[in-house]
């Protein structure tokens, strides 16, 4: 199991456990846990409604590819520790990380 910590928009903190062999991305997992994420584009790095701020463990994540970097640069509230949850595959890279949900709700 992979354990990670999710901080919601209201700063509620919760540790979640995800089976390692699950073939999903982090956006899909967060939605399954009923976090409020629009995921308008369905996971193709186009809408950025799954924007998360990585509070801990940023360096252990696989580097963002061009499409994600383009989108992150565009975000008005994006920072150096911003990522799109839809571009983060669920695997060992997520172990122990702490993220805050930032994506727009409109």
């Amino acid at each position: 199991m992979i354990k990670l910590t999710v901080v919601d928009r209201d700063n509620t903190e919760k540790e979640i456990e995800i089976p390692e062999d699950i073939n999903l991305n982090l956006m899909e997992v967060l939605k399954a846990y009923e976090y409020d994420i629009l995921a308008t584009c369905g996971g193709i790095a186009l809408c950025a409604t799954c924007h998360v701020e990585v509070l801990e463990g940023l360096n252990q994540l696989k580097e963002a590819e061009d499409a994600e970097l383009d989108m992150l640069d565009y975000l008005p509230d994006g920072g150096n520790n911003s990522r799109l949850a839809c571009q983060l595959r669920v695997n060992k890279q997520l172990e122990g990380i702490k993220i805050k949900i930032r994506g727009d709700l409109v």
Partner: protein, 339 residues
């Protein structure tokens, strides 16, 4: 009014993506004529615009099909029903008359008169992403613009651009030669997505041709009828003010419902709530199918959209022809009879 821009039809389908296209087929089987409108200049929606060469694996009967190929096939499939198209125009207004008929007006003033409206808008339309800045909307068109339409407007003026994507970088480089003073404000301290343009921007800043303000963001803008100054704050929480004639926030585009959001439809999390019996909305005569709708168990899949199109047409037929009896016919028995 240009009379060529007036269209009469049974169903006006907003969105010419795969689901909108297939709705033409299902409507055609029931002898309903369709006209499609799309803000994009070509048909196919996100399949043609975003991933034309990507293979899709979950279309029944096609183990693998490229997105554009699916669009081409759908076009061939609906050819007998001679749909009309208005492309490159955004739907702006919807009017309903006393008899329950609709008129849709586009951004180019095309009028589509129809008996029912089918919203198959997918992700919605792409609108500029607006940063959270106090008074921003107050100065839209009065110094604040989300795109550069005519660079000459900025000649010998003071301008502030905000953003860190390639369009912010490219316009900074371009306008450096036109404007009196160009300032680029970026929240981060790097530009990760466009290293070549970033290098040019850093060089221009070194040469003193532009002002580059990193690790800062806009908080508030002020003016007196027209924009006069922007307030900034940096990571150390130090505030500053810049005098400017124009502010151009360039934070890319994000998919939004757009004017559809103001049509009185029940919306849940940016999606249109429908009744799954016939994909009707809360407004009689308006239907929503494909990625733009929501209901318990919704799956954003093309194949789900096809199913929704078929059921929607059954409902729309009863709305368009309330006096006529609907008889369900198989294409294997009756074939596809063109108009």
């Amino acid at each position: 009014m240009n009379t060529q821009n007036i269209v009469y039809t049974d169903l006006c389908i907003i969105g010419a993506g795969p689901v909108g296209l297939f709705a033409v087929f299902e409507a055609g089987l029931l002898k309903m004529r369709c006209h499609l409108v799309d803000a994009l200049p070509q048909i196919g929606g996100q399949l043609s615009e975003i991933y034309p060469h990507k293979p899709i694996y979950d279309i029944p009967g096609f183990p693998e099909i490229k997105a554009q190929e699916l669009v081409d096939n759908l076009m061939e499939q609906i050819k007998p029903f001679e749909p009309g198209f208005t492309l490159g125009e955004r739907v702006e207004q919807l009017h309903k008359d006393e008899e329950g008929n609709f008129t849709i007006v586009t951004s180019d003033q095309t009028e589509i008169h129809c008996k029912a409206v089918v919203i198959a808008g997918g992700l919605g339309c792409f609108e500029p992403r607006k940063p959270d800045v106090e008074n921003l909307e107050l100065f839209e068109g009065k110094g604040v613009s989300y795109m550069v339409k005519d660079p000459e407007v900025y000649r010998d003026k003071k301008i502030v651009l905000a953003g860190g994507g390639d369009s912010a970088l490219d316009w900074t480089i371009f306008l450096a030669n036109i404007a009196k003073e160009v300032t680029l404000v970026h929240r981060g301290d790097t530009f990760r997505g466009a290293p070549d343009s970033a290098e040019k921007v850093f060089l221009l800043a070194e040469m003193g041709k532009i002002n580059l303000i990193l690790s800062s963001h806009l908080t508030k803008i002020n003016g007196n009828g027209h924009l006069k100054e922007v307030n900034l704050i940096n990571k150390a929480k130090e505030e500053s003010t810049l005098e400017t004639d124009y502010l151009i926030p360039l934070f890319g585009l994000s998919p939004k419902l757009g004017p559809i959001a103001d049509w009185g439809l029940t919306i849940d999390k940016s999606a249109i709530v429908v009744n799954t019996e016939n994909y009707s909305t809360n407004v009689p005569g308006i239907y929503a199918i494909g990625d733009i709708n929501t209901y318990p168990g919704k799956l954003k899949l093309i194949l789900s959209g096809f199913h929704e199109a078929a059921l929607m047409c059954q409902g729309a037929f009863k709305h368009v022809y309330p006096e006529q009896k609907l008889s369900f016919k198989y294409t294997t028995v009756y074939g596809v009879n063109s108009f």
